[in-house]
């Protein structure tokens, strides 16, 4: 019997995917904010990629000034609400909380952040006013966290900002890629709406920038262009049987799940290949979709997993089983996935080798490949002079996120290779400041 029964309705889906950082009520927020020590040069601030003045906003919550707290948060991070929920706070702000040195529970900074920002959003609090029109235009490609953050900052400075988004919804992986128990779709959309209402950037949905001609047109129409394009589809693993039905990419599976909830296809016995945070999400989600057995298979040892420890713990807590030192050699099935053939591996003098004659079959009816996302190399080749590094990430100057083509700036996964929403938000904002300086000095 599985831990979760297969959700047949939206209510059942909501229940299986209950928020792991639910919204605090007033009392919880008051008590929790009371605990904050108001550290000097607080380590939590240094641990936040966007440098939110955390002790200040917590103190503001505690003095009954949640809207002031929201302003403090949004001044540093335009995705203040989403980040409170989707950030890996355990390894960022909360991981730096000094209480940990005393074996006392860290302040729940993420939930306090969501508390204050939700209040501002619900109250339609006007925190920002666009700057006076400066007559300049910037195009942003990709309405993900990097792009929207960049757009917000530019609007404050009076630029006209047009965002071009290939998909039908904004916020990129925040809505398409984050596990549903971290944030709900409508929460993501509400925050973007909230920002858009105040700052008035334009988003053109279903509007992929996919040809050299369009790129050249943008270059002509806009003073600068920001690339917040993220990453592409899940990498192929080049295994026999990869094209069988029910062998899916993790990013694609999670996107389908986020968009279609309980209506998405499911497996009873699921094998997830990989051990990064996306693999953990895919495994957890499969379990919550009612799978009887979810196996997380990784070719190296448990200690070498790239996923955060708390993400693995979360997966284990819903019944996911780890299978380590196994390398897939074939996906087996007749039309549909029926199993994965593995060979055992071992670490020999720091080198991963296979163990002869150790092949075995793990039966399953779904395989999810969490083997990283591809880079959008082809698209980027449309831009003249744009250089990529040896991992195909866009090269930038980290002071202003300007690329090797001066008209282009970039941030987010396409630059950092795929980190967190909060990193993308931070980079988008720095890039906006860079764009401003660039366009103003070009006068």
């Amino acid at each position: 019997m599985a831990e979760f029964s297969r959700p047949q309705s939206e209510e059942a889906f909501e229940k299986n995917f209950a928020q792991i950082k639910p919204l605090m009520n007033e009392t919880q927020a008051y008590y929790e904010s009371s605990r904050c020590l108001f550290c000097y040069e607080a380590p939590c601030v240094n641990a936040c990629p966007t440098g939110i003045d955390i002790p200040l906003f917590i103190r503001q919550i505690n003095t009954g000034n949640a809207l002031g707290a929201a302003k403090t948060i949004y001044d540093a991070n335009y995705f203040g609400n989403a980040c409170g929920k989707v950030c890996p706070t355990e390894v960022l702000c909360e991981g730096a909380c000094v209480y940990i040195h005393q074996d006392v529970k860290a302040i729940e900074i993420g939930r306090l952040q969501s508390f204050a920002t939700t209040k501002a959003i619900v109250d339609h609090e006007q925190l920002f006013t666009p700057g006076a029109d400066n007559g300049k235009k910037v195009a942003v490609i990709g309405a993900g966290p990097a792009g929207i953050s960049c757009a917000c900052e530019l609007r404050l400075k009076g630029y006209v900002v047009d965002i071009y988004e290939a998909k039908e919804k904004p916020s990129g992986l925040t809505i398409y890629g984050v596990a549903p128990y971290k944030i709900r779709n409508e929460e993501v959309l509400t925050e973007v709406d909230y920002l858009k209402r105040q700052l008035g950037f334009h988003i053109n949905y279903n509007h992929p920038i996919d040809s050299k001609e369009i790129v050249e047109q943008l270059e002509e129409d806009y003073g600068a262009i920001f690339l917040g394009i993220g990453l592409g589809e899940t990498n192929n693993i080049e295994l026999p049987g990869e094209d069988l039905e029910n062998c899916l990419g993790a990013v694609e599976y999670i996107e389908a799940l986020r968009m279609r909830h309980h209506e998405v296809g499911f497996g009873n016995k699921v094998v997830v290949l990989g051990a990064g945070n996306t693999a953990m999400d895919a495994a957890s989600e499969s379990a919550r979709m009612g799978a009887e057995k979810v196996v997380l298979a990784y070719r190296r040892s448990k200690e070498q997993m790239r996923a955060y420890e708390f993400e693995y713990d979360l997966a284990k807590s819903v019944g996911v089983k780890g299978l380590f030192n196994v390398s897939p050699i074939e996906i087996v099935g007749d039309g549909k996935v029926e199993g994965v053939k593995f060979i055992r591996t071992k670490n020999e003098n720091g080198k991963l080798t296979t163990v002869p004659n150790s092949e075995f079959l793990e039966p399953c009816d779904m395989v999810i490949r969490a083997t990283g996302q591809s880079k959008l190399v082809e698209f980027l080749s449309n831009i003249q002079g744009l250089e990529l590094d040896n991992l195909d990430r866009i090269k930038v100057n980290y002071k202003n996120y300007q690329t090797t083509n001066a008209q282009y700036f970039a941030g987010g996964d396409a630059v950092n290779g795929g980190v967190e929403v909060v990193n993308a938000v931070a980079e988008g904002k720095i890039a906006a400041l860079g764009i401003d300086k660039f366009l103003m000095s070009n006068e």
Binding site: L37, F38, C39, Y40, E41
Partner: protein, 443 residues
């Protein structure tokens, strides 16, 4: 097991924990319930000509998640007919002959005093407490603290009372006076048998920021009330000490003010109280707190070898001196235990901004502050703000062989007497140049 029974100015009780005259002693029902749970005595809600009260009577002061750190009330004396109260006193005494029932009284004329004393004693009261402390409402009518603030009037009324009283007379003092020993001496001169203090402190609990009305709000207006609760304990302790040390007072003292647990009670006793009275803590948690108080004081007495309450009374008085008799040669310096430090740096900023700039921050690799010993004046501030018990300790640096007090130095003419006197204590103590302040960041 220590003997907790007391004989306070001739009033016997099974233990020193009494309920103060206040809402918890408004009725026989409440007093009987309290005795049943273990309280040793009760001072009845003040009797007199019954009053009419307002609705909305109490205000609370919270500190962060702690509720009722301070408390005030604008309730007056009993609003119940005297005969009802007397009947209930009689009934309580019938059930609890060994417990102390003290009638608190507040009337105006000599005849009224005589009449009510006879009535109460006939009902079985073991003693009388004269309410010369109430600082709200009644004082506007020339009673309560209006009497306590006029030692001559107080003395006259005490002497009226003593004309007829057969039982011990406790004079309850107001803290709303410059020198509480003046009414204490007057109580003695009027032949009172004991004093009790402190009554509540005149206060306004705060202002409603939306409608500009103080708490508690009585139809859009408020009035000053009487302040009590944990926050007033230090004020009570000092006043009790002053009365206990005054050579012309020499009366048993019933300690009142901020007592919530056995520790608070012991502190009152160590500074000269022969019994204690509790109100706010009962209004907050109910009579059940006595369950903690009795075994607490009992264990303490066993540990310290005290056989009776009397043995403890005033034990801290010899160590409580005037400032001029403190040893100027005593020298302590803060010491930070690096293993216990949680790196909040509150000690640093407290000392830096609030005291003597005697704590430094290390370079990049560590967040553990260090003490600049030559600047440390041993003020204790860092140890007080440190959230970790026992992390910052004050270490003695002098060898204890020398002692000189201000008084002794004055006698020797060895004190600064002019504005720029070379004997100034701070000479030679390092102080940064004012302009250095502007080189620090705004944190």
């Amino acid at each position: 097991m220590a003997d907790l029974s007391i004989n306070f100015a001739g009033i016997k009780a099974p233990n020193p924990f009494w309920l103060a005259s206040a809402p918890p002693t408004n009725s026989g029902y409440q007093v009987m319930k309290a005795f049943d749970q273990g309280w040793g005595g009760a001072v009845w809600k003040t009797l007199g000509v019954p009053v009419v009260n307002v609705s909305s009577r109490y205000g609370g002061m919270n500190y962060r998640e702690s509720r009722m750190v301070g408390f005030n009330n604008i309730e007056l004396i009993t609003d119940r007919p005297l005969k009802d109260n007397l009947k209930e006193i009689e009934e309580v005494k019938k059930h609890f002959p060994d417990h102390a029932v003290i009638a608190s009284l507040m009337v105006e004329s000599r005849e009224e005093w005589h009449q009510i004393i006879r009535d109460c004693e006939n009902a079985g009261a073991d003693g009388l407490e004269l309410n010369f402390g109430c600082p709200h409402g009644m004082c506007e009518r020339g009673m309560g603290s209006a009497v306590g603030q006029e030692p001559e009037v107080l003395k006259t009324i005490v002497s009226w009372v003593k004309e007829v009283a057969q039982t011990p007379v406790i004079v309850k003092l107001t803290p709303n006076i410059t020198d509480v020993t003046e009414p204490a001496v007057a109580a003695k001169e009027g032949n009172g048998d004991a004093i009790s203090l402190i009554n509540t402190i005149q206060s306004l609990m705060g202002v409603d920021l939306d409608n500009f009305v103080c708490y508690p709000n009585v139809d859009g207006a408020s009035t000053n009330g009487g302040y009590c609760g944990p926050a007033v304990k230090p004020i009570a302790l000092n006043m009790i000490k002053s009365c206990a040390q005054h050579p012309d007072v020499n009366l048993p003292i019933s300690g009142i003010g901020g007592i919530e647990n056995w520790r608070d009670a012991v502190e009152h006793i160590l500074l000269g109280a022969g019994c204690v009275q509790v109100c706010t803590a009962v209004m907050h948690y109910g009579f059940g707190i006595i369950r903690e108080m009795i075994p607490g004081i009992d264990r303490y007495m066993d540990e310290k070898g005290f056989k009776t309450i009397d043995e403890m009374v005033g034990k801290a008085l010899p160590n409580t001196k005037t400032w001029e008799n403190l040893n100027l040669k005593y020298k302590v310096v803060a010491d930070i235990n690096e293993d216990k430090c949680i790196q909040c740096q509150l000690c640093y900023i407290a000392c830096e901004d609030g005291a003597h700039q005697a704590i430094g921050l290390p370079d990049e690799d560590s967040r553990v502050p260090y003490i600049i010993e030559e600047n440390c004046v041993g003020c204790n501030l860092c140890a007080i703000v440190c959230p970790v018990e026992g992390c910052i300790t004050m270490e003695r640096k002098d060898d204890g062989s020398q002692s000189i007090t201000w008084k002794e130095r004055t006698a020797k003419g060895d004190i600064p007497t002019t504005f720029n006197d070379p004997l100034a204590g701070g000479i030679g103590h390092w102080i940064p140049e004012p302009i250095e302040a502007l080189k620090k960041g705004k944190k």
